[in-house]
Symmetry: C2
Subunit: 235 residues, 2 copies
């Protein structure tokens, strides 16, 4: 085992045993290096890896807020990995979109089956997206957040994070296609109406309708930008 | 942007532009450090992150095989991230299993819909699992490989890698439960028969049957070990 992997294994077993939890502070670089008998630079390498995995966030400075804190942001890690592998063409964009459709149709179906689901968090985001003059980049970020929040109502943390990471991994491709659209305003109005339809179907407890609308919504959007794929593929 | 992130961004844009591809060698640490105007230790931190993301593999030594090679192993990265987040209890094991069922029922359904699918790679693994005296750990590794190969026939790289990583992330929990089983041999025989049934349904082109058998197979196996959850949760 290489030096930095000793740190990773130690953190994992501390998490599994409950000796470390989300919000806890990691021991300092020097303390970890001394305790594990490795160099401080190996500790730093492990900390970068944990950060990339969404397991810790680091803050600079020397106050009580300095140092590395155990976090729980799996989507951050998966987004970076997916984005890199999309860039390397291990993952065709099409496969990312199809997987997103699979997870998201399941999620709205499951959300629509719940009793008395409260979608006010989702609706607040739809209202923000209705504001006049909202720019495409902000629109797409709110859009992504809205889809994630809606999917969260299905109650499966893994699906929620995977969906968010799939979406995030191709954000660059989506944004690259925006200037090529003939009429962004018409596209945005159409997306707004589709969102309201999906949310209404979930609220009304219609799983298969919600599922079908989500599929059409995602397929439609990517069909719209499919002809620009060859342009955006090689940014 | 922090120093090591400059390297990550540079590699990503080289991949996206096709200047770097899978199998290529990364420039050396010293060359990257000089070119980007950062320290060698920052370059090394970035290399550890890329390694953890399954984007490169490193080899020691000084021959032509030394250094960092661009790789494509997204499952490695997602497995590590999922495992850490399962350990931190961001992800309940149940959510991991349910997501695996969602992806895998879709995958065998899609595989069964293909014309003339050749499952000889999957069957070779089933034959290996039939060998007398195969140990639980080897059995479960072959089992995981078999499920991944079967899912690969669905033709979606993202689903294949996500499935493999979900499975890999809870391998430790599954193995921890084995000693608690009353009769490992009976469990293994049952799993073998279920595998043959799933493969036969895919081969015969019966999507909904294949899907149902996979669901029962995974639910059955985890139902079997569910009562040991409280034991394995805190290894």
């Amino acid at each position: 085992m290489r030096a930095h992997e000793i740190v990773l294994e130690r953190i994992e077993s501390d998490l599994a045993a409950g000796r470390l939890s989300v919000g806890n502070r990691l021991p300092g670089e020097r303390a970890l290096a001394e305790e594990l008998g490795i160099s401080r630079s190996s500790v730093r390498e492990a900390i970068r890896v944990l950060e990339a995995m969404g397991m810790i966030r680091t803050a600079v400075g020397s106050g009580p807020r300095a140092g590395a804190i155990i976090a729980a942001d799996p989507a951050a890690s998966m987004t970076t990995a997916l984005r890199l592998h999309v860039a390397a063409q291990t993952f065709p964009v099409q496969d990312v979109v199809r997987t997103r459709i699979l997870l998201e149709t399941w999620a709205v179906d499951a959300a629509a089956r719940q009793e008395a689901v409260d979608l006010s968090d989702v609706e607040a985001l739809l209202d923000e997206m209705d504001e006049p003059g909202v720019e495409p980049d902000r629109f797409h970020r709110l859009d992504a957040e809205m889809h994630a929040k809606l999917a969260a109502h299905a109650g499966n943390a893994v699906v929620r994070e995977m969906m968010a990471s799939l979406r995030g991994s191709i954000h660059g491709y989506v944004m690259a296609a925006v200037p090529l659209l003939d009429d962004w305003k018409a596209v945005a109005d159409n997306l707004r109406a589709e969102h309201r339809g999906i949310v209404a179907a979930v609220q009304a407890g219609h799983p298969s309708k919600a599922s079908r609308l989500v599929r059409e919504h995602i397929e439609g959007f990517h069909g719209l930008t499919a002809e620009t794929d060859s342009v955006t593929r090689r940014r």
